[in-house]
């Protein structure tokens, strides 16, 4: 690794010229284009890979390997190009790049990535992509609290990595192999016995085991599994894991008191994801938060992998050609349950019943989970106002309670309480509401364990896919005929970014701020794709945009959250009406009026096996190191090569730094001296010099002035058009209450001679402009690319104020910010600095936006002196948006 880096360094030092050589603008620009090109190529490959997670494709492992190698080449190119451009300022990026490559190679080789070696993770640290490391149950709980903000008891996961370390530390795998040899022999039995035993298994439905016994191959009897369980129970916890566990427990104790109790639950690798292993693995309740006790419980839970019940799954636990199944464990604070139970978000026996089923008993949920008591039973209609359709108060003679010294016991219930309903009606409705929310988020009916504490608060203890007893029959699957009675609002408009079916009320997003008013369960309909939708993604039934691509960052996120999404419909926001109920079929690209129950049911029974295949999981795993974007705000301190965790981060970093190189104003001075620049000659005194690097100007004669008609640069022309808009450019001096520096603001660059080092510079090509403006002390930079290719288009707007007092400066920033947000630009304000950006929009929209930005630059030039207070900021912002450009 180090050698590799050294050789990289040598390579670059040799290849690129020594630093401090001033490159000509043309060279700088060409190198900049190269960076953009390789970045775009990388983004395309990334998007293509992400696209495959949408369920529309059939792909194989070769595809994954090939795409990864193409992508990795292309990211390398970007780093190389940036270093050419910046004269080797960012060689360190190569090291980061290699680190990420290393992780991905490990995954491709079937090893755990190095950075996921954290043995203990609190729920707040767990995100969707870690489900392989913390198991389905833990990952699910983490999502419920992190995304849906539901109450989940505080706790942490002991990861799969920790399990592997434990197994390695105690040489368990070796010992299991030895046991296999021993018990295989011991298992030889008489033919008579075999037949009897096979019959017993066959009667129990264990046909595979029965066959195995008759074939007498690899049959291992119960004593083998007992011996393996013993290996786990007697194993020693590796010292580093012990330290981490103690730290985590300390945190729990500090918050919840020394006597706090823990529930230790299994969360096996694929438990609840593909195979429910329902109830096969151990859960230990009410364990004191003491290291020794937790360790003991941890080992006990691990040993349950080889319990008698789990044997039926032994091919999964001990697959022949793969590593043994691993188990993560969750340690969560015990809820002081007054009432608890189980609820189903759908009726497993009849999906046509739109109900939530809840069962409840006093105390801990154990009596309900194992069905040992005649619990209360409620059936609730699955929509507002969650009407309780049926209720049955059970006998409830027993309840499980926590015992002071640890563990639980069952006690008798007073007669009065036996007859009482253990949930208030409002609690029943609240539970049902949460069940629906969870089903919605998980996209599948759920089997949920819950508890209510002494304060009446609901906690979700566990949620897993509900086993459907009666899936829809063949006739119901063939739904084409029944769809004919529904009216189609839109068909085959746009591209599918994430397949699936979703239904709900239309929520038309007019302004980004309205996202906070998003109603859970609605269908988000927006003009553009935006990665900001991540905020509401977990609660959206579907997403439809007018403009966008299936390869955008948003589309990636939609796939992560499995939200049916259709982009680039062109007409979504104009055809769909806010508040109307619709059903989005993103399998067949059709939008129906009203709720199409047949489709929703079809979705429920649909086999999501795709998500669980090896190829799919592998792609998802490596994309973790590719697509997430952590570096968002260039103003943050973390915006460094070290802050790059993924390829996407690297590309983002490179993009930002490449622009920074380009706008380095010093470069232009030399150029201006060399008379390459021409002056912009328009009716308003912009003082802009233009450097054309290809197709940006079409000068009628050899001169050093360009009129508006001679501008052929698409984005620059649009900006200048805006500056020339009637009434926006005020040349009259503003009555000055503050006379400090206003004169300097109004002063235009002296253009009497080309020797002047002008500071208003536009570097243009046909599709590009990089405009640096300095009016007085204000510095404004815009970098825009505008072509027919939506994906290449971007606007980057940066404004830094100067002079006057600090409050006024930020008012100007506030004014700009509020206006830029109205243009749907992503806007960051830090003191006096504003960065606003937008991308992925059509040429026409770009031109319109740039026209407004041109007006904005002109209009706000002199505004500082008028921004006396907050009122004034609002006043001028409103005026501008209403196209009233008077200053008064």
């Amino acid at each position: 690794m180090k050698n590799l880096l050294e050789s990289f360094k040598k390579y670059f030092v040799k290849k690129t010229p020594a630093t401090d050589v001033k490159l000509s603008v043309r060279i700088v620009f060409n190198r900049f284009r190269q960076v953009l090109d390789s970045n775009n190529r990388s983004l395309e490959i990334m998007a293509d890979m992400g696209d495959k997670l949408g369920g529309n494709y059939i792909f194989d492992i070769n595809y994954i390997k090939k795409s990864y190698s193409k992508l990795s080449d292309s990211v390398f190119q970007s780093i190389y190009n940036l270093n050419l451009l910046s004269q080797n300022k960012y060689l360190y990026l190569h090291r980061i790049f290699e680190k990420i490559n290393d992780q991905i190679s490990r995954i491709l080789q079937g090893k755990a990535p190095l950075d996921l070696r954290e043995p203990v993770l609190f729920y707040r640290e767990i995100s969707w992509e870690m489900s392989d490391e913390v198991g389905g149950k833990n990952a699910g709980l983490a999502e419920l609290t992190n995304h849906l903000r539901l109450n989940v008891p505080e706790g942490f996961a002991i990861t799969v990595g920790a399990f592997r370390d434990f197994v390695e530390y105690n040489r368990i795998e070796e010992k299991i192999n030895a046991l296999k040899q021993k018990y295989r022999k011991a298992a030889k039995r008489s033919h008579q016995e075999s037949v009897m035993s096979a019959i017993t298994f066959a009667e129990a439905g264990e046909h595979e085991t029965a066959k195995e016994i008759l074939r007498e191959e690899d049959y291992l009897d119960d004593s083998f599994f007992w011996a393996v369980q013993d290996l786990f129970r007697k194993g020693k916890i590796p010292p580093y894991l012990e330290t981490q566990l103690e730290k985590a427990l300390e945190i729990l104790r500090a918050k919840n008191g020394e006597n706090c109790r823990i529930a230790v639950r299994s969360s096996a690798e694929r438990e609840d994801l593909e195979f429910s292993f329902a109830g096969q693995f151990e859960t230990l309740l009410n364990v004191p938060a003491d290291l020794k006790q937790i360790e003991k419980a941890y080992k006990e839970v691990l040993s349950s992998l080889y319990s008698a019940g789990a044997i039926s799954y032994k091919d999964l636990i001990m697959p022949k050609d793969k590593p043994m199944m691993a188990m993560s464990v969750g340690c969560v604070k015990m809820v002081n349950s007054q009432v608890s139970g189980v609820m189903y978000s759908s009726d497993p026996n009849d999906l046509n019943n739109d109900v939530v089923i809840i069962s409840a008993n006093w105390g801990l949920g154990k009596t309900v989970v194992d069905g040992s008591v005649d619990a209360d039973y409620y059936i609730v209609l699955k929509e507002e106002p969650y009407e309780i359709l049926d209720r049955k108060v059970g006998g409830k003679k027993l309840a499980a309670v926590a015992v002071k010294d640890g563990g639980i016991k069952e006690i008798g219930v007073s007669e009065e309480k036996q007859r009482a309903q253990c949930l208030a009606d409002e609690q029943i409705r609240d539970l049902a509401r949460q069940a629906v929310l969870i089903e919605h988020y998980m996209k599948k009916p759920q089997d949920i364990e819950w508890a209510i504490d002494e304060k009446g608060e609901i906690f979700i203890l566990q949620s897993r896919p509900l086993k459907i007893v009666a899936p829809l029959s063949g006739a119901a699957i063939n739904i084409t005929a029944s769809l004919e009675k529904y009216s189609v609002i839109m068909e085959n408009q746009g591209k599918i970014a994430r397949r699936g079916v979703g239904a709900g009320r239309v929520f038309i997003l007019k302004r980004m701020e309205d996202l906070q008013n998003f109603i859970p369960g609605s269908v988000l309909v927006a003009r553009h794709d935006s990665s900001h939708f991540i905020k509401i993604m977990p609660k959206a039934s579907a997403i439809i945009t007018d403009i966008g691509t299936p390869t955008s960052h948003m589309a990636n996120i939609a796939r992560e959250f499995q939200v049916p999404t259709i982009v680039n419909t062109g007409i979504g926001t104009s055809i769909l009406k806010h508040g109307d109920e619709i059903t989005v079929d993103a399998d067949d690209n059709r939008i129906y009026a009203g709720i199409v129950k047949e489709l929703l049911k079809y979705r429920i029974t649909e086999d999501m096996i795709l998500m669980e295949t090896d190829e799919f999981r592998l792609l998802k795993k490596i994309l973790r190191y590719i697509t997430p974007l952590n570096l968002i705000d260039p103003l943050l301190e973390s915006f460094t090569p070290e802050g790059c965790k993924t390829y996407h981060d690297i590309i983002r970093f490179i993009h930002e730094k490449a622009i920074a190189e380009l706008v380095d104003i010093d470069r232009y001075k030399e150029v201006l001296r060399n008379n390459i620049a021409v002056r912009l000659d328009v009716p308003v005194p912009t003082g802009i010099f233009i450097i054309d690097i290809g197709g940006g100007l079409d000068l009628k004669e050899d001169k050093n002035e360009a009129s508006f008609d001679e501008i052929t640069s698409i984005p620059f022309r649009a900006i200048v058009k805006g500056m020339m808009h009637p009434g926006v450019w005020h040349s009259e001096a503003i009555s000055m209450k503050i006379n400090d520096f206003m004169s300097s603001m109004l002063k235009m660059p002296d253009i009497s001679g080309m020797s002047y080092l002008g500071e208003n510079v536009a570097v243009v090509s046909r599709e590009y402009v990089n405009l640096s403006l300095r009016f007085g002390y204000h510095f404004n930079m815009m970098d825009c690319y505008c072509s027919e290719n939506i994906k290449d288009n971007h606007v980057y707007f940066r404004f830094v104020g100067g002079a006057t007092d600090i409050t006024k400066r930020s008012r100007r920033a506030e004014l700009l910010g509020s206006i830029l947000r109205e243009f749907n630009m992503r806007t960051n304000i830090k003191g006096d600095l504003i960065i606003a950006r937008t991308d992925n929009i059509t040429r026409l929209e770009m031109e319109e936006l740039l026209d407004y930005l041109g007006r904005l630059i002109a209009y706000t030039r002199q505004l500082d002196a008028l921004l006396y207070d907050e009122q004034a900021v609002k006043y001028y912002a409103r005026n501008f948006l209403e196209e009233n450009y008077r200053l008064e």
Binding site: K52, G55, N56, Y57, I58, F59, D60, N62, Y63, I477, N478, I479, T480, A481, D587, D588, Y602, E606, D607, I609, L610, T613, E615, F616
Partner: protein, 129 residues
């Protein structure tokens, strides 16, 4: 419904392909039979005939080429669509010589498969009238 009565066979040793295709084609109204190995598919073909077969080329044991041969021998009107991860020209040529209807290489969009099936269906109904 237009697709009813069109008998479709899907053969692939990758479970994902079978399940996904079955699910999507059934939703579109086709009558779909699925096999996840070549042996069973060939056995079935000896007994019954299908309108359209979608098969993977590379499979352990009996491969797509063998299925193509069997299907065409039993019923020359069967349209066979082959999916493969390795679109080698030599294999493609052989497949076309043996009468394959179309050749699709992975990664493939499910819509593409659907369209090829529709194309095959059109050809069948065209040749019947």
């Amino acid at each position: 419904m237009i697709n009813e009565g069109c008998r479709l066979m899907v053969v692939d040793d990758e479970l994902i392909v079978c399940k996904r295709l079955k699910q999507i084609l059934e939703k579109a109204g086709y009558d779909v039979t699925v096999f996840n190995n070549g042996e069973d598919a060939v056995k079935k073909l000896e007994l019954e005939s299908y309108d359209i077969i979608v098969t993977d080329l590379k499979m352990e044991g009996v491969d797509g080429m063998k299925i193509l041969e069997t299907a065409k021998r039993k019923n020359p009107d069967t349209r066979v669509i082959m999916i493969t991860g390795f679109a080698e020209t030599e294999t493609a040529r052989e497949a076309f010589r043996k009468g394959v209807f179309d050749f699709i290489s992975k990664p493939v969009e499910i819509d593409t498969i659907k369209q090829v099936i529709i194309k095959a269906q059109k050809e069948i109904s065209g040749s019947k009238t």
